[in-house]
């Protein structure tokens, strides 16, 4: 018997053997389940938005838009090497700033936000140094200094908030602020006369930031955490009880120095004149609305 013949024989034997009682169910029953699944997948697909690629960029601030922006920025950063080294005033600098905004959005927890803040503050500082040394346009330098102050302020707020849980981050932020003060001080000597004031302003903000970081208090909780410290007989409260107005965190504060009112923060009248007996070394910051903000 050849192999082919044997195969035919085996095939016949298998076919002739009495099979176990075997009833094939109606295929319609199982098909109902399959069909229901097909309908379900079709419904899900129909519910998905089908927009052309460019329309994704016009969508409201959704995850899709964020995703599209991230992709665009990553592509831009990958394809154009010059973006990373772009300086204020250059065309690619806007892409760099957009990338930083995406970085901020993607930083979901406090730790990540602070790390990103440190990185951005370092960049701004380096940019200021490069611009001043290169005698660049005063307006651009002033804008960069303003951006540096805003970044530093935001960073300080975040670092102070986690000073108890993540002291190492507060230390890093403090180290950066100290370095910033040194750099700005050296920059001040090279700065053009019309920029000196802006640089000095930035130095003051930096010094105040160092103080805030050292004391571990957030400027954002004005009138709340500071009130019990100043008013001995008052108790800590979760709600603001003072007449002080808070300044939005995103809004950079003006850095006018005034003598601090000796009254507790809870009793400070924003319109009251400043007495001559206040301590000169205690300062508060006046915001754009001329409301004093105690720095403790």
């Amino acid at each position: 018997m050849t192999e082919q013949e044997l195969e035919k024989y085996i095939s016949q034997m298998f076919a002739q053997l009495p099979r176990k009682h075997f009833v094939v169910p109606k295929p319609e029953h199982a098909w109902q389940r399959v069909h229901a699944h097909i309908m379900q997948t079709r419904r899900v697909q129909a519910e998905k938005p089908s927009l052309s690629a460019w329309k994704y960029l016009l969508l409201p601030r959704t995850y899709i838009r964020i995703g599209a922006t991230v992709t665009v920025v990553i592509l831009a950063l990958t394809m154009i090497g010059g973006v990373a080294s772009a300086q204020p005033g250059e065309t690619l600098y806007t892409v760099k700033i957009a990338a930083e905004q995406v970085e901020k959005v993607l930083a979901t927890n406090e730790e990540a936000k602070i790390k990103v803040g440190i990185r951005h503050a370092r960049r701004r500082l380096q940019e200021v140094k490069t611009l001043v040394e290169g005698n660049k346009d005063g307006k651009v330098v002033a804008e960069t200094l303003q951006a540096l102050k805003t970044t530093t302020d935001e960073l300080a707020n975040g670092a102070v908030a986690v000073s108890e849980t993540k002291p190492e981050l507060t230390t890093k932020a403090t180290e950066l602020a100290v370095e910033q003060e040194k750099v700005l001080t050296s920059v001040e000597s090279n700065a053009a006369p019309d920029l000196k004031e802006a640089v000095q302003d930035a130095i003051i903000v930096t010094k105040e930031t160092i103080t805030r970081l050292a004391e571990g208090k957030s400027e954002d909780v004005k009138g709340v955490a500071t009130a019990p410290v100043l008013a001995e007989d008052s108790k800590p409260s979760a709600t603001p009880t003072t007449t002080l107005k808070t300044t939005p965190a995103s809004k950079p504060v003006a850095s006018k120095k005034i003598k601090k009112d000796p009254l507790p923060a809870a009793e400070v009248d924003a319109n009251a004149s400043i007495g001559a007996d206040v301590q000169i070394d205690e300062v508060v910051i006046i915001d754009d609305n001329n409301n004093p903000e105690p720095v403790e």
């Binding site: 192999e3 044997l6 195969e7 085996i10 053997l17 075997f22 169910p25 199982a30 399959v34």
Partner: protein, 180 residues
């Protein structure tokens, strides 16, 4: 019912189903339902479970059919899905069962009445079949009972076609010597 569609017919159906043609997919279902049910039923030995698993096979096929590059491997692929689902079925029941042993379950009647009615040749054939190794029995059954081709068997068992040919060749030679 033609259980072995020609490759061109199957290719067309798979292509259409991949584009979302439900009718074409229904035709594939009709072609494979009984075959798959038999394949699954003799491995789980439970009617409702087999029916559920077969519908699960087709749900998975629907989800992936658009990604199929080579229609020639469709047959092996669909049985591979069925086999994996059988394995998952036992895993979900926390039963450690050797799938190769499971695939060697007797598909044929083994009660006394039917055995008595069997011819001498049939009895001898079944006895000789038991002398083969488990792997050889499995390949022979997949080939002659489930009517699968070597590439399909290779895919299901995760072996090369060459390996399947060798197992099959040795099994047939063994049967040849036993049947002398």
């Amino acid at each position: 019912m033609d259980l072995k569609p020609d490759s061109k017919q199957l290719e067309l159906l798979v292509q259409k189903a991949g584009e979302g043609d439900e009718v074409a997919f229904g035709q594939i279902y009709d072609l494979y339902f009984e075959k798959l049910y038999r394949f699954v039923y003799f491995r789980v030995n439970h009617r409702e479970a087999a029916e559920d698993l077969v519908s699960e096979v087709f749900i998975k096929v629907w989800g992936k059919i658009a990604e199929i590059q080579e229609v020639s491997s469709f047959n092996g692929w669909i049985f591979q899905i069925a086999r994996n689902l059988v394995i998952d079925y036992y895993r979900s029941r926390k039963q450690n069962i050797d799938i190769s042993l499971l695939e060697n379950v007797l598909v044929y009647e083994d009660n006394m009445v039917d055995k008595t009615n069997m011819s001498f040749q049939q009895k001898a054939f079944l006895e000789n079949l038991q002398h083969l190794t488990e792997e050889q029995q499995l390949v022979i059954k997949l080939k002659f009972l489930d009517e699968l081709d070597n590439p399909d068997i290779a895919r299901i068992l995760g072996k090369s076609e060459g390996a399947i040919r060798v197992i099959q060749h040795r099994a047939i030679n063994e049967l040849k010597s036993l049947l002398k």
